[in-house]
């Protein structure tokens, strides 16, 4: 019985079909001879009349097979299209698929096959966007100047420019040098070598790319190498002046940019000034992030100017070297600006002088909601001014003063200020040595404020209804 079932020719039992059975089969299979094996199969679970697939299915199969040479998709009936998309290979060249296929299911398969771990929520639930953004990121991250052909990047651009909104580039490789071959030999005195090598270690030039990506809104850059391991070398993490120039030019050409972030790239005052001078008349830029860099007071002054001139919403400059003067410049900008909602100055050294300046600015500002002044060497004098701010300012919601030695007296002053405040929702005073009592009362007030803030939108929406 099983051999009969296994036989594709299920019409065995129909006597009229006899002549079609080929000779060898007859010879091999004694059951094929109905005279010898005369049996009727009562039940066959796999029995099906559709042995030959439908012509439609064959056609679709053919389309799938030859999709690379002859892509037919949009002309198909929706149900057929779905079938084709289901079977299409993810290895198809992007040139064919990029602008033709918009089905999320296909791109979902592409992404999962390529990277495994994917969080589509970060890409507005668009698998296609995710695929192209990560694809382009990968290409740029693996781009080695003077070695990789620039065409590899430029070829992809026309395919993905409609879908890329965000570029999160976590490394930029430096050009490969002859010295790199010998770097193991003289690894001890790399610092001395870097001095005269400077101009020759420029990274990928964004000028060629950014003006072509017409939908780009976010750009995250790190001029450095991840996972260099024991091949560490200082010049791997160099952000040269020429890099900076080209980046500034590229930023100027990219008019759609809204968010710009450059991390851990040794951006010093000069470079910041160069970048910001190119950003001063940028039409849409609202978020700027310059964390983990080497920005000093002059750079801070430039940032203050940018805050003043542009309608920035968020500025993040934590882990830099901004001191009192820079903080004063930013504070001055705060008094003038009416759009900035978030300011992060964590891990700088603005000291009491800068802290007081910023606190005074907050007395006048009515838009800023988040401020982070953690680890800034602030002490009691700043706390006194801040307590005043807490009483007067009605827009601040999040304040972070952690890791500042405010002391017991400062804590009391802040506690007093908080007792008049109804808007601040979060106030981080960890490691500020303000005393348990103050900390506790502040947390109580915060909880109250939180409850109020929670109820407010509900009642407002209720009234509106």
């Amino acid at each position: 019985m099983p051999d009969v079932i296994g036989n594709p020719d299920k019409r065995v039992f129909t006597p009229g079909r006899l002549p079609q059975i080929s000779e060898p089969v007859m010879r091999l299979n004694p059951a094929s001879d109905p005279r010898k094996m005369r049996r009727i199969i009562a039940e066959d679970p796999e029995w099906s009349l559709a042995i030959i697939p439908l012509l439609r299915d064959l056609c679709l199969q053919h389309i799938v097979k030859n999709f690379e040479n002859n892509p037919i998709l949009n002309e198909l009936h929706p149900s057929h299209r779905a079938k084709v998309l289901e079977k299409l290979s993810t290895k198809l060249p992007l040139k064919v698929t990029a602008n033709l296929i918009s089905d999320e299911g296909y791109w979902n398969r592409c992404c999962t096959e390529r990277w495994g771990v994917c969080d589509v929520a970060c890409y507005e639930n668009s698998w296609k966007r995710m695929f192209f953004e990560r694809h382009l990121e990968k290409i740029i991250e693996l781009f080695i100047p003077d070695v990789t052909d620039i065409k590899t990047v430029l070829d992809v651009v026309p395919l993905c420019k409609n879908y890329v909104k965000k570029l999160n580039i976590s490394q930029l490789l430096p050009p490969v040098k002859e010295q790199q071959m010998n770097e193991d030999d003289n690894a001890s005195d790399t610092a001395s070598d870097l001095g005269h090598e400077g101009p020759s270690i420029d990274h990928f030039d964004f000028c060629t790319l950014l003006d072509k990506l017409t939908h780009l809104e976010e750009l995250h850059l790190v001029y450095g190498v991840t996972g260099c391991g024991m091949n560490f070398e200082w010049n791997l993490f160099e952000f040269t002046y020429r890099d900076c120039q080209s980046l500034a030019k590229a930023l100027k050409s990219c008019k759609t940019l809204k968010v710009f972030r450059i991390h851990q790239s040794k951006v010093d005052d000069e470079k910041v000034r160069l970048l910001i001078s190119s950003l001063l008349d940028h039409p849409f830029l609202t978020v700027l992030d310059l964390s983990h860099n080497l920005i000093g007071d002059r750079g801070a002054r430039a940032i203050g100017k940018l805050i003043n001139e542009r309608k920035m919403k968020s500025v993040t400059v934590y882990d830099n070297k901004i001191r009192a003067h820079g903080a004063q410049a930013i504070a001055y900008a705060l008094t003038k600006n009416t759009t900035l909602t978030s300011l992060n100055l964590r891990l700088n050294q603005i000291g009491d002088e800068g802290g007081q300046a910023i606190a005074h600015a907050l007395l006048k500002n009515a838009t800023l909601t988040n401020i982070h002044l953690g680890s800034n060497e602030l002490t009691e004098p700043t706390a006194t001014v801040l307590s005043q701010v807490l009483v007067q300012n009605k827009t601040l919601r999040n304040i972070n003063l952690s890791c500042n030695r405010l002391g017991l007296d400062g804590g009391k002053q802040i506690q007093e200020g908080m007792s008049y405040n109804t808007t601040v929702v979060e106030f981080d005073v960890r490691l500020t040595e303000i005393g348990q009592e103050s900390e506790y009362s502040i947390s109580q007030i915060l909880q109250n404020n939180r409850e109020k803030a929670r109820k407010k939108p509900i009642t407002e929406s209720g009234v509106k209804k």
Partner: protein
Amino acid sequence: MNPAENGSKEPEPVESVPSVESDIPEERIAARRLRIAARIEAKKREALGDDPDPKKEVKQELKSEKQVEQSRQRLTKLKSDGTELVTNIQVAADSRESQRRTDEAEARRQRTERLESEAKMSLEKFEDITKKWTMARSKEVPQDLWEMLNVQQQQCALLIEDKNKLINDLQQELKASDDRYVKDLKKQAEDIDLMIERMEEQIKNLMKSYREELNQIEKSFELERRELLDSNHNKWEQMMQYRRDKELQFLMMRMKRVEEQERQLQQLRVQDAEEYNMIKIKLETDVQILEQQLQQMKATYQLNQEKLEYNFQVLKKRDEENTITKSQQKRKITRLQDILNNVRIKLTKQDKQFREENHGLTEDYKRIMEQYKEMQKKMKHFANVDAKKFQEIWLMNEEEIKELVQRALETDRIIHEQQLGLTWEKPHLPFMERSGPIVPEHKKKKLALQLAEEVIRSKGNTDAAEEWEAVCAPGTLSDSLPFQEQDRLDTGDTEISADQSLKISVKTIKRLLEILCDETGFLIESKLLKLLSPLEKDEQSLMKLDAIFMALGIENEEDVHKLADFFIRYRQQQTVDGKDADEDESPGKSESHAQKEIGDGSSHRSSSSDLIHPNNVLQALRDFTKEHCKPRDKSQKLFNLNERDDSKDAAYWEDMVNVIPESKLKVWDALYNALEKYHHVLTERMKLINETDGMKQQNSELRMLLHQYVNSRVNAELEIPPTQVMQIESSWN
């Protein structure tokens, strides 16, 4: 985590309900604020139209909400605690970093200080050494030099040693910092591990607690739902019970009603049956009657049928006859057709003939018309000539007659003065002053327009108007005064109106004219109005009146007066207060008027200030034209035909003839007779005088003769003288 939760839960109620009696001032302030906020909220609710009822509902639903609120608080607490726990690591790292930075800065400062001091020291030493080099050159003793060199060497070695030491120190520091870096790295790795661990733990915790809370919330909701269900079920039951009761009630009511209605139905049925019977009987009798009638009708039908059959036969015969006559008529028609054709031909002939005739006649007519026109021309000419002749003859005759009259009058005067010895008064003879043929009265009358002009010119000056009236009135009235009384009684209306019209005051006429002017503007052509606009008001109204009079057919003064009179009467007709009363009162009213003796009624009318209401003017005018248009037409025609009215001529001439009245003639006759007699007497006397004269002559002659005779000697010779004889004779006489 639980202790933290408990810790956070305990103070919450205290914090959430701050009392006004609290010891802490902040709390009291907060309490008052809360109170105020609550009041404002309540007011807002009221303003929005919300009742406090929703609050109750909220309270009822509180169980689940409470549960949700509790869960939410617990979860937020959990979350914030968790995040704090996680971020604690970051904060610690931050603080470590900042600490490191400060330490680093300090160390760097110390290091640079040390380097600087060392550099200074070494520089000093180096200078020392270099100084000594110069000293060494001055040394000439080799041993000294050697010593010196040794010392230098030692010093140099020291210097180098110092430097090396420093370098070693720095290298050690570098190593230490390297170690620290490695440590930091390790620490960071640990931190990250810790963080991940905590995160995972928190996620686990959160998941767990979320699930728990979810369960609890679900439970509470279910509980509430059950309660709700129960309550609703109860309510449902109640309602059902209520409904059942009601249904029962309704059923009972329905049954009752059904019974009642059945009873009513029964009653109705009985009634209807009775009625039915009655009707049935009635209808049966009706049927019988109708059957009888039917029989009768049938009989009549039979009769009629027979009659009709007979008629039919007759008609058939007639029809036959008719066919015969029809054929005859047809034949006749053909014959008549022939005749008609003949007649037509004749007609056309005649028509032609007549047309020609007509043509000839029209030409004749034209000719005659021309002749007639010529005749008319001639006639006009002759009329003019005749008129002239007539005038001349008239004038001649008049002159003659005037002479005669003059003579008659003269004679009359002479008679009166000389014969009768009476003073003679010259009678008033108007015709004497006049010459030419009489012009008919109406022609002589003033034209209506002239009157109007006068009236209007006299505007405002009432005295003048009255004067004028006084002037015009007596002239006409003095003669007619004696007649007037009689005339009023028996002569026609026109006479009276003519008389009366004269007495209508100017004021009234003026008013009338003004009203006419104002009310009958439609009679005036619009062109005229345009032309009039630049003129004065008087002129304007005059011109307007002219137009109006033209339209109304008013030509002369009399017509105007008629009109006025008509209006007044019209008004009087309208206000029938009794004319008698009016007339009785009128004398009193009309005292001021100049002619108060004449015509009480008229004077009253003229004085009545409200002539006619402007609104009635049109109606009045219509009536007026109806009444007065016809006579006018006739007179007009007559006047045109006769050209001249000689009715008055006879009177005129009669007047001339009657210059000497009948009485005078009688006087004259008497005088004539007397004079005749006187004449006769005078003639007799003359005769007698003549006789006496003759006699006297004879006497004287005779005397002479006698005297002669007497005186004659003869006589003396006679025995008896004649004288004696005479004496005797005289005595005899």
